[in-house]
Every structure is written in structure tokens, then in C-alpha cells.
């Protein structure tokens, strides 16, 4: 997988993960073009499209679009289920996840993704194991009291 984007129906990027080296400018251009392309598609259309020399696999969950760019030899259907498994992980961790969870806890969304996919490949596909890793990490956090400015 080359990259994964999460964006809202309004076209706001909520999460971006790049597995290939690209400049900031290229990333912005790609996201802009792709968000536009996908938002222009009708609901019943197919979840796959050719885009430049990549295959785009996307799916909409409520107000959020999840979109992956994979290479020519990659499997579209299994990518679609990668998206679904990630949604399940977020859902399980946040307890019926919504867009706001991802906005306010964007760092968690990244951590969960890193446990599930690394370098663009599935690292651990078991839901239990991924969540166990995240929960262990959460347990490690210190209990402390503090006052915020």
C-alpha cells in the first residue's frame, strides 16, 4: 500500500498515512485531487478505480471516507477488508467510533494504525492482538494530576 487517507464528506482530511517518500507538496496535491475525485462519485459505484498508475480502493463509513492507494499487483478486495478491519479496531477502541473521536484523538488513530499496518503491509490482523497492544500501552501511562494552562 502506498498511502491511506481518511476524509470527511466535506473533503476535510482527518488522517493521512504515507508509506512512500513524497514531498509535502506532492502529498497535498495527491490528497486534493483524490478527495475531489472520490467525492464526485455516486454512492452505488464500484469501490475501486484506476488513478494515475495506482489502484484506489475506498469505502464510506457514515460521514468518513477511507481510501487506500495500492499497487497494480495488489488485491482490491483484501484492501477493502483492511479498511473494514481498521474501522472495527477504531470502533472497538473508542466504542462506536464517530468522526469526532478521530478528530480529538487523532494520535490514537495513528497508533492503532501503526499496530495494524506497518510500512503499508498488514502487521497483525487479529483484532484481539492489536487492541491488546494498544491497551497495554494505555496502561503504561502514568497516573498524574495536573492543571492545564
Amino acid at each position: 500500500m502506498q498511502f491511506m487517507l481518511l476524509f470527511s464528506r466535506q473533503g476535510k482530511l482527518r488522517l493521512q498515512k504515507w508509506y512512500v517518500p513524497l514531498s509535502d507538496k506532492e502529498r497535498k496535491k495527491i490528497s486534493r485531487d483524490l478527495v475531489q475525485t472520490i467525492l464526485a462519485r455516486k454512492p452505488k459505484m464500484c469501490s475501486f478505480l484506476e488513478w494515475r498508475d495506482l489502484k484506489i480502493v475506498y469505502k464510506r463509513y457514515a460521514s468518513l471516507y477511507f481510501c487506500c492507494a495500492v499497487e497494480d499487483q495488489d488485491n482490491e478486495l483484501i484492501t477493502l477488508e483492511i479498511i473494514h478491519r481498521y474501522v472495527e479496531l477504531l470502533d472497538k477502541y473508542f466504542g462506536s467510533v464517530c468522526e469526532l473521536d478521530i478528530i480529538f484523538n487523532f494520535e490514537k488513530a495513528y497508533f492503532i494504525l501503526d499496530e495494524f499496518l506497518l510500512g503499508g503491509e498488514a502487521q497483525e490482523t487479529s483484532k484481539k492482538n492489536v487492541l491488546k497492544a494498544i491497551e497495554q500501552a494505555d496502561l503504561l501511562q502514568e497516573v498524574r494530576l495536573h492543571t492545564d494552562p
Binding site: 452505488k44 475501486f48 482490491e76 477488508e81 490514537k108 501503526d114 510500512g119 503491509e121 497483525e124
Partner: protein, 926 residues
């Protein structure tokens, strides 16, 4: 504070995010962000040392601002400080910041690498994983330099935790992809392969991605993975849906791992070990069978996971391309999907069938679905699905269904989406040319293209129809008649005017006998379009007019009148003005003879690859054109250039065609320099045609060209060039094959098989690179059939398959024998039994130049004997063919007859098969 915050919620961060969300305008948002940036800057610069929590919070805010799309140019140092915190969450945020905002400051990189090094050696698995994730996310060269040695050790160490192994495997993969030169193969490689046997499914899932990537680049080193992968796959496929616990996904056992296993196997040819192969075929059959079973769940996830495996299995079956039974089953399965209610499945089935169509085993089976595919083209609501259907029609097209498919594609063009029209036009043009049996159909098709989608008909397409009409005299009359009719339409596309102008200018005479299309009618028709056309088209029309003056003297006065008019001779466009002036002068000064010479009909275009195909490839990118050039022969027919004999690659490449000037006016001095814009149009096309030109269908010719020489280019197409160097001594030979990748893209899974044994070649040919293969040859006994060389590789996605005869011929083992005339005749008489002699009388297909003939006879390997034959025009040769089994003496006589352009070739040898074979081979050389 919103209730959605979870975990170690940083209140300040949540408040900031809320503020941003509440901003009513972009300006307000920027204002709020600038305020925050100023605040953070002052905190970072302040005298008071910040505690870890505050640092974490501010770094996190910066990250958020960055992800909103704003630039961040500070905070890196604070993030790096967090890395060495012993508090997990601080460390974690530090790493996240570093991974997202990669920085190239070398001092910073040194600090980051130090922190990573500490975490890697901490033996705390959570810290180790964090560090590995960071390396995998950044993947820079600096990181590879620092850690490419360490990570393999972590990966294969016995005491490494499973979760760390998983991260290490994918981390290494990322580094290998970015800097393959820094990841050195070693003792760890064999141990990595054995991770396929690991008990922990997660470890296998992560490791297999690494193994697949390494295998595709070093297949030999990793080939033990094949049997391991097969047995792992077999265990998964045959397991019950609950066996694998949490690795079962919606009742499908380990779908990700299954797909990856099937993908890994696609790096290799079918397993040679019969047992392994049998087991694999069983797996593939089981997967195909499962597709027919009722679903275990109604959830789409169930069917997606199951079908993901099915499609990957089908890819493997197509990759092997050797099991007709499986191929046909795959095709039937895809056929079912073509009518599935899920759009996704229809899309994938169309895509997958496209590759099946190019397999000889399944091409016919694919063709049976033509009606469904045509229906998809007409009724699918999603343009990307229609696009796939069009691709598939293109791929399944052959002589038997070309008319139907072209007709359907044409009618689809009328309503096709603008985004795919140009490509459709190219494809229709290619199919029409490739499968044209009668050229009137071809001409009709192209004119229809212009009529329906004129705007999308690129120059290459209309140049091509002109090239073909010029080269085929049987279609010229029809073409003239048809364009004449097409031009009658009140509004016709400018491209039609171009084609019409050109064709009538050349062949208008063929329809001039009919009073309805008399010369003057033709001219008036063309000229009625003139004022609506752009400058290049007008220039072309002016050239057509001067050709008319030559074809039909009766139009001279009218046309001169036109040329003389102010709107021509004083046209503000310098090109048009110059043409008008020069043509007017030419027509008034030159005698009819001169005019007839200057304006002679265009000579046939040299035979070359269709420029349209090159265009389509360029448009679609590498690997996208699935029906490649296997049609060389057909194109040869079509261009009909005549008997040009063996195509000469270098000539086709470099010599600019003398006929390249649009209307052959090069010879007319006044015009030659004046028409760079329109006059040289065709030259441009040719320069794009690429060097594949003459080579498309020469697989056999290539072989014959090497009978009398040992070095040269055996094969060449757009992608690949194969060069040969060979040397022979007695009954031994050595041949060097050079495979050159002409593209800028890698060839993957490159393999060559010979029906004799060879060393394998590098499986990967980088863009622009060349790999070499050496073949040692021993001639055991005399032979007729040449060894077959089969080359397979993946370019882009498409599997390329090339079969060539290796130019190893019996004459390579000749030892020249010098002998005097008396000796020769004595031996000649000794070999007088009828079966010892082979003789052929044949027409010369090349010039009969003495020096060339001599060179060829010497190239054959025999000694050329002077002063032996009483007739000095004749050639006699002698040699001994060295085989391991025996030596075969061989005498040869070649009698040219320059007047009749014929040769008589006689061979005598002690073995009848040798006489016959050498005679056959040599007869093709003159």
C-alpha cells in the same frame, strides 16, 4: 471539554481542537492557529524548563496544526527530547511527531538515531516496537545506514518477542524497498524463510510480506519458501472456519495470510516437485470449489474476504498459465461474477478476465462471454466498470469477432464518457487495423471514428489510415469514393477534411470517371470546406490542389485562380502564403512532365509498427496494453509493403524515410524548406514509432538471419532487446545472450527456459539494464530443430511471453576444408547416391552482389574454393561438420543466374539429413 477524549486526554489539546472547530471562517482559523503558534514558541523559548507533559502537549498541538495543512518549522528539538523520556506516552508522541514531520537536519537525525538505538537495545518490547515503527514510518536512507544491520538480528534472534518480530520484519521491508543496497543478505535470510512455519499467525503474516519482496528480487536464494508456502496455504485452506480463532475473519480462515501466500507463489514458476505441485493444485481446486458453496454469512465482509482469496488464486493460475483445466474453471467462475449484483465483483471479474484473454488456454473460454461484456459496456452505470468492459473487449478481440467488437465499440463511442473517448478511439483504430481482412472495412471504420468522435481522433490515427491507403492499391479507389461521400455532409469534422484532402489529392483520379465526382466537383467540394479549417489543414488542402493540377489538367485554371486570389497569395500566415506563391509558380512554369515527376503519387510508406499502438502504450503507461505485438505477421500483411525480405533493424531505425514529407514535395526545391509546420507532420509520427518497428513478427526471421553470422540482435520489441554473441569450435559452442530492458521500469519474475539446460538468469531486469546468460552448446549428432528459448517476465502488471528459436544451426559446426579442384571433383563423384544430394532452385530475394555472396558462404562456415568450378560465376565450398557422434563431409555448389535472378544450390554430403538441412538453411539466405 468534549466527552470524546480518551486515554490520557490532554485537556489543553482538546480545548484547542474545539476552538479550531468553532472557527467560523478560514481567516478565524488562521488567526487562532497563529496565536497558538506564538504561545508555543514562547513556551519553548522561555526560561522556565518545561515538564515532559507540557512538552508532549505542545508537540501534539504542533502536529495537529501540521495535519490541518499548515507549515511547521519548529518543535523538532522538543520532540526529539521526548524520545528519551521514560514515560511511554511522551515517547510515543515524540516518535509520532518525528515520523510525520520528517526532517533532514543531520544533527537532529543523529539525535533521533541515538534515541532509537537506545530503545532497540532496551529489551522492553513496547519501546522496541515504537522505535521500529518509527524506522518503518520514516524509512530514510540515513535510518537504513544506521539500522539495516541491526534489524535482521532482532528479527531472527531466538528470544525476540513475537510482536517485535512482526515490527522488525516490516521495518526491514521498508528499508529494503527504500535502500536495497544497504540491506545485505546473509545468514539471516534462510532463517527468515522459516518464519513461514512460525506458530504465531501474526508473525507469519508480517514476515511473508518481507519474504515476498525479497523473493521477487532474489528468487534463487529464497526458493525454499515455495514448499513452505504451499504447505502453510494447504493447512489454512483445509482448516475449519473456527480453527484459527481470531485469525478467522467473518468465517474465512486467515484471508490476509492466504492472499499473501498466493502472491508469494506468483514470484516463482510452478513447483517442480510433483508432490508440492499436487498439493498446490489441490489448494487451488478447493478455493475454486468453495466459491460454489453457499455463503456462511450474509455479510459483505464474508464474501469479500472469500473472493479476495479466489481472485488471488486465479491470478496465480493465470501466472502459471499451464493448467488448462484450472484456467477454464477460473474463466467460468469469473463468468458468473460478470452477472453478479455486486458492482465490485463485476469490475474485478472484467479486470481479471482481461489477463485470461491473453492465455492460449482460456482465450476461447473468455470469448464465450462476449455478449455479457457488450451488455456491460452498454448498461453499467459506473464509468470505471464500463472502462473495464471496453478493455476486456479489446483483449478478447481476434479475427473471428473483430467486426462485432469494433461495431459495438463504435456505437458505444457515441455516448461514451469524455474521459475515455480518446483511448477508445485508439483501441478501435488498432483493432480495425489489426484484424482487417478487407481494407474497405478498415477505411469505413476509421472514417466512422472521425465522424463519431472526430475531436478525439489523434493525428496518429488519421496518419495511419493514409499510410495504409497509400500502401494498398486495392483499397485506394474505395477510399477515394468513401471520403468523397463523407465530405458531402454539410458539417464534417476537420480531420475528415484532412483525410479527404490527402486521399483525393492522391487518388481522386480513381473516381473522376463518374460525372457525380468529376475533378471539378471534387475540387469544389474540398474548397467549400477550406474557409472553415485551421491553418495546417488549409496548408494540406493547398498541397492537394497542386496535386489536382497534375492529376486533372482541366482544373488548372480554376485552381490557379484560387491560388492567385488575395486571400491566398497575400495570406497573413506565412506558410499559407508561401505555399500559394510556390504552387502557383510551379503550375505555371513547370512542363507537364516536370509537374508529373514532382507531384508523383506518394511511394509506399516503409513498413513499421503502428504509431497508434505506441500512442496507446504511452497513454496507458507500462504494462497496460494486454494484447501486445503477437500480431506481427498480420501487420506485415496489412502494410503490404511488398517483398522487402528480411527487415533490417538498423535501417528502419535511423534512416529518415525519403517519403516522409507529407506530399512528397521534398524534391520540389522551392517548397522543401518552407513547410516545417505542416509538411513534416508524418516525420513526427515516425519518430514516435519506436525502434520495435520491423521486429514485431521476426521471431523466425531472426533465427534465419543468424545462419551465416554469429553476432547481432536476435529479437527486439518495445520492451526487450535480445542480443547474441556466439563462438564455435569443432562440435562445441558457446552463446552469450544479452537481455536488455529498453524501458525505464523493472521486469519482474524474469525467466528464460530452454528445452535444453541453462543456468538461470537474474529474475529482475532493472529499467535500462541488461542481463547476460551463457549457454554452452555441444553438438552430439546432426539435427534439424533449433532449441526453443522461452522468455517470461512481468512488465508493469502484464505477463510477457516470448518464444524464440535460438539460432543454433547445424552449419555452425562446420570446419572449413581447403582442397584442390581434382580432389573436389573426386569427392563430389563419390557422393553420387541420390539421397546424398539435396538441391534447390530458387529466386533471388536480395541483390546478387558477388562480395555479399562470398561473405555469406564464408559465414556459413565452409571454405570457399577458388578456381575449382570451370564456370567462374559459380561458387563451390567444402567443409566438415563436427558432431560428437561422427564427422560429416559436405560439398556445396551455388550457381547464380543473374539474368533470371535465380540460383541453383546443390549440397552433397555423406549423410542425407545433413545435405537436406544445410540446403534448406542456405536457400533462405540469398
Amino acid at each position: 471539554m468534549p466527552a470524546v477524549s480518551k486515554g490520557d486526554g490532554m485537556r489543553g489539546l482538546a480545548v484547542f481542537i474545539s476552538d479550531i472547530r468553532n472557527c467560523k471562517s478560514k481567516e478565524a482559523e488562521i488567526k487562532r492557529i497563529n496565536k497558538e503558534l506564538a504561545n508555543i514558541r514562547s513556551k519553548f523559548k522561555g526560561d522556565k524548563a518545561l515538564d515532559g507533559y507540557s512538552k508532549k502537549k505542545y508537540v501534539c498541538k504542533l502536529l495537529f496544526i501540521f495535519l490541518l495543512g499548515h507549515d511547521i518549522d519548529f518543535g523538532h528539538m522538543e520532540a526529539v527530547n521526548l524520545l528519551s523520556s521514560n514515560k511511554y506516552t511522551e515517547k510515543q508522541i515524540g516518535y509520532l511527531f518525528i515520523s510525520v514531520l520528517v526532517n533532514s537536519n543531520s544533527e537532529l537525525i543523529r539525535l533521533i538515531n541515538n534515541a532509537i538505538k537506545n530503545d532497540l537495545s532496551s529489551r522492553n518490547p513496547t519501546f522496541m516496537c515504537l522505535a521500529l515503527h518509527c524506522i518503518a514510518n520514516v524509512g530514510s536512507r540515513e535510518m537504513a545506514e544506521a539500522f539495516a544491520g541491526e534489524i535482521p538480528r532482532i528479527l531472527v534472534a531466538g528470544d525476540t518477542m513475537d510482536s517485535v518480530k512482526q515490527s522488525a520484519a516490516l521495518c526491514l521491508l521498508r528499508l529494503y524497498k527504500a535502500s536495497p543496497d544497504l540491506v545485505l543478505m546473509g545468514e539471516w535470510t534462510s532463517r527468515v524463510v522459516h518464519l513461514l512455519n512460525d506458530q504465531h499467525m501474526g508473525v507469519v503474516t508480517a514476515a511473508i510480506s518481507l519474504i515476498t519482496c525479497l523473493s521477487s528480487k532474489n528468487p534463487d536464494e529464497f526458493k525454499t519458501c515455495v514448499s513452505l508456502a504451499v504447505s502453510r496455504l494447504s493447512r489454512i485452506v483445509s482448516s475449519a472456519s473456527t480453527d484459527l480463532q481470531d485469525y478467522t475473519y467473518y468465517f474465512v480462515p486467515a484471508p490476509w495470510l492466504s492472499c499473501k501466500l498466493l502472491r508469494l507463489l506468483q514470484c516463482y514458476p510452478p513447483p517442480e516437485d510433483g508432490a508440492v505441485k499436487g498439493r498446490l493444485v489441490e489448494c487451488l481446486e478447493t478455493i475454486l470449489n468453495k466459491a460454489q458453496e453457499p455463503p456462511k454469512s450474509k455479510k459483505v465482509q464474508h464474501s469479500n474476504a472469500k473472493n479476495a482469496i479466489l481472485f488471488e488464486a486465479i491470478s496465480l493460475i493465470i501466472h502459471y498459465d499451464s493448467e488448462p483445466n484450472l484456467l477454464v474453471r477460473a474463466c467460468n467462475q469469473l463468468g458468473q461474477f460478470l452477472q453478479h449484483r455486486e458492482t465490485n465483483l463485476r469490475y474485478l471479474a472484467l479486470e481479471s478476465m482481461c489477463t485470461l484473454a491473453s492465455s492460449e488456454f482460456s482465450h476461447e473460454a473468455v470469448k464465450t462471454h462476449i455478449e455479457t461484456v457488450i451488455n456491460a459496456l452498454k448498461t453499467e452505470r459506473d464509468v470505471s466498470v464500463r472502462q473495464r468492459a471496453a478493455d476486456l473487449l479489446y483483449a478478447m478481440c481476434d479475427r473471428s469477432n473483430a467486426k462485432q467488437i469494433v461495431a459495438e465499440m463504435l456505437s458505444y463511442l457515441e455516448t461514451a464518457d469524455y474521459s475515455i473517448r480518446e483511448e477508445m478511439v485508439l483501441k478501435v483504430a488498432i483493432l480495425a487495423e489489426k484484424y482487417a481482412v478487407d481494407y474497405s472495412w478498415y477505411v469505413d471504420t476509421i472514417l466512422n471514428l472521425i465522424r463519431i468522435a472526430g475531436d478525439y481522433v489523434s493525428e496518429e490515427v488519421w496518419y495511419r489510415v493514409i499510410q495504409i491507403v497509400i500502401n494498398r492499391d486495392d483499397v485506394q479507389g474505395y477510399a477515394a469514393k468513401t471520403v468523397f461521400e463523407a465530405l458531402q455532409a454539410p458539417a464534417c469534422h476537420e480531420n475528415m477534411v484532412k483525410v479527404g484532402g490527402y486521399i483525393l489529392g492522391e487518388f481522386g483520379n480513381l473516381i473522376a470517371g463518374d460525372p457525380r465526382s468529376s475533378p471539378l466537383v471534387q475540387f469544389n467540394l474540398l474548397h467549400s470546406k477550406f474557409h472553415l479549417c485551421s491553418v495546417p489543414t488549409r496548408a494540406l488542402l493547398l498541397s492537394a490542389y497542386i496535386k489536382f493540377i497534375n492529376l486533372f489538367p482541366e482544373t488548372k485554371a480554376t485552381i490557379q485562380e484560387v491560388l492567385r486570389s488575395d486571400s491566398q497569395i497575400r495570406n497573413s500566415d506565412v506558410e499559407l502564403q508561401q505555399r500559394a506563391v510556390e504552387y502557383l509558380k510551379l503550375s505555371s512554369i513547370a512542363s507537364t512532365d516536370v509537374l508529373a515527376t514532382v507531384l508523383e503519387e506518394m511511394p509506399p510508406f516503409p513498413e513499421r509498427e503502428s504509431s497508434i499502438l505506441a500512442k496507446l502504450k504511452k497513454k496507458k503507461g507500462p504494462g497496460a496494453v494486454s494484447v501486445e505485438l503477437e500480431d506481427g505477421k498480420e501487420r506485415g500483411e496489412l502494410n503490404g509493403g511488398g517483398d522487402r525480405g528480411v527487415p533490417d533493424l538498423t535501417n528502419a531505425l535511423s534512416t529518415p524515410s525519403p517519403s516522409a514529407d507529407l506530399l512528397g514535395l521534398r524534391s520540389a526545391a522551392p517548397v522543401s524548406g518552407a513547410a516545417p509546420s505542416a509538411g513534416s507532420l508524418l516525420v513526427d509520427v515516425f519518430s514516435e514509432a519506436g525502434p520495435a518497428a520491423a521486429s514485431a513478427g521476426v521471431n523466425d526471421d531472426g533465427f534465419l538471419r543468424f545462419v551465416c553470422k554469429n553476432n547481432g540482435v536476435l529479437f527486439e520489441n518495445q520492451l526487450l532487446q535480445i542480443g547474441i554473441k556466439s563462438e564455435y569450435r569443432q562440435n562445441l559452442g558457446r552463446m552469450y545472450l544479452f537481455y536488455g530492458n529498453k524501458t525505464s521500469v523493472q521486469f519482474v519474475s524474469f525467466s528464460t527456459t530452454l528445452n535444453v539446460q541453462t543456468k538461470t538468469v537474474e529474475p529482475l531486469v532493472e529499467g535500462g539494464a541488461q542481463v547476460q546468460q551463457v549457454i554452452n552448446i555441444e553438438c552430439l549428432t546432426d539435427f534439424v530443430d533449433a532449441p526453443l528459448l522461452n522468455i517470461k517476465f512481468r512488465y508493469g502488471g502484464a505477463l510477457q511471453n516470448i518464444s524464440l528459436k535460438l539460432p543454433v544451426t547445424i552449419n555452425k559446426f562446420f570446419q572449413p576444408t581447403e582442397m584442390a579442384a581434382a580432389d573436389f571433383f573426386q569427392r563430389w563423384k563419390q557422393l553420387s547416391q541420390p539421397q546424398q544430394e539435396a538441391q534447390k532452385i530458387f529466386k533471388a530475394s536480395h541483390g546478387m552482389d558477388t562480395e555479399v555472396l562470398k561473405a555469406k558462404l564464408l559465414g556459413l562456415g565452409t571454405a570457399l574454393l577458388e578456381n575449382v568450378d570451370p564456370n567462374p560465376e559459380n561458387y563451390v565450398c567444402a567443409g566438415v561438420i563436427q558432431t560428437k557422434a561422427q564427422q560429416v563431409g559436405c560439398l556445396l555448389r551455388l550457381e547464380p543466374n543473374a539474368q533470371a535472378q535465380m540460383y541453383r544450390l546443390t549440397l552433397r554430403s555423406s549423410k542425407d539429413t545433413v545435405s537436406q538441412r544445410v540446403c534448406d538453411l542456405l536457400a533462405e539466405q540469398f
